[in-house]
Amino acid sequence: MILTLVAAAAVWALVAGVCLFVGSTGNNWPTDEQLAYRLERVLTASLIGAALAASGVVYQAILRNPLADPYLLGVSSGSALFAYIWRQPMAAAMLAAVGLAQTAVSQQVFAFAGALAAVTIVFVLSMRRGRLEPLTLLLVGVIVNVIAGALFLLINILARDTTTQMTFLVGSIQDVSDRQLWTVAVLVAIGWVLLMLMSAPLNVALLSEGEAASLGVRIHRLRWAALVTASLITASAVAISGPIGFVGLICPHLSRLIVGNDQRRLLPVATAAGAALLALADGIARMLAQGRFAATVLPVGILTALMGGPFFLLLLYQSRKRREL
């Protein structure tokens, strides 16, 4: 167990280290200035990747569905939309109307509300006789994504917002203030520890409700706790990055191939994999920006979608062959 943790952390450290040597300003031993910039980007990317992968593991376990992922469920886009709304003057005005200063309700709270709204919609609509229907679940998630995307564009145009780039639609690693980064880091860390404490009961949650109950797990309470916690860390991450897709899908699957489906191992390994993958994707995005695209760093969400989309189709194809869906 400890060995697994150390190995996973080492892999991440290696990848993150390598990523310090690449950038839009060339692949080199970083100067002090470059190091500071790249370090911040690598850490931001790792943090977001870790959060998305960890919640991916948890969603897949509680939904007993290998295709669950914060992006596909619409959680990411829901919270990104709410985080975006928070930035609008209109939101500040609305909050002021109910007697709150904008600073009193942080962007994280807004993002979290968006995540919970999305999760609630998805759940209510895809629940049939107490069971979640996998295909309905995905369908509702996709529609929530489309609606959130459309609302984002609508607000963007109506508010004549030229400062926010379209890239918020696919998600990217943006420069954020240190204070914001720390807030996210603390929230994700707390959520992650809570999820780790739930990881043993989550193993039991993979079974039917009756079996889980007979093994001493209060399954409904566990589902709620895990769902809310996973949504919280998704929301925190997505609030600063926008909806980066598929990290929460790919990493749990790849990690499962290595350590099996014991959530106590899977969660830390997938978390490290997520951190490494997104740091790597961001490194590649910065490298691609070197020549032709100079001055525009490619949004990392484009890369993860291009990697993750086909991966998802492959999984879907395989599970159809096994007649799971």
Binding site: S214, G260, N261
Partner: protein
Amino acid sequence: MSEYLLQADELCFAYNGAPAVEGVSLTLRPGEVLGIIGPNGSGKSTLIKLLMGHLSPQGGSVQWMGRDLKSWSPRELARQVAYLPQSPTADPAHRVIDVLRLGRAPYLGVLGLESRDDLEIVKEVAQALELTDLLERPMDGLSGGQRQRVFIGRCLAQQPKAMLLDEPNTFLDLRHQVELCRWLVQLTRALGMGVLMSVHDLNLAAMFADRILLLDRGRPARLGRAVEVLEPKLLSQVYNIALESVPHRLHPLIVPALDEM
């Protein structure tokens, strides 16, 4: 401490107004196998779920070790009572050892890690059920009989005082049905455990159960030793098909009366 592991009184339950279990009372002692028989839809599974607390009875009470079921926490109960549903979940990614370890879930601490004792118990269970060579095999690579043995192993890893099994013989061929029952009876006697199981095969029930409860549309039709319950006239009525008994050196066998065919 009550002399009974389990004592149920006048249990009643209805799904949306349609009665499924009506006025069933039963007891289970240490070292006893209680078989539950009855046609499809006679309330066998519902009864077991009521006894486990997965459904709340609309009337009557359930006591485990002399304590009302409602006062047990799920974790506490899971250390005393194991349950196997009709079709247990087998995650294709799970190996045999993973499934057996799940049986230790009610004993894990806050960190959720198995102690050395937990692993030792899993090893003992694997040995007792002759699963030691299969431990690393994935669940979807096992035969039906092996799988069922693994699930019984998961129950045993809970170190329960009682096991409730819902048709553990479904999907097993004749030999494995008999083998499974023999395992269960041996374990029951050796560990002083109480086993309550629903069975479709009347003759198998007669052979292995100390007492049998016959359910008829949710109502207890008779409860007693095999010879008392397995009466062709009573069974023909309950199963709604002509049955007759054929002498056999252990128990009379119940077979359909098919001379018209």
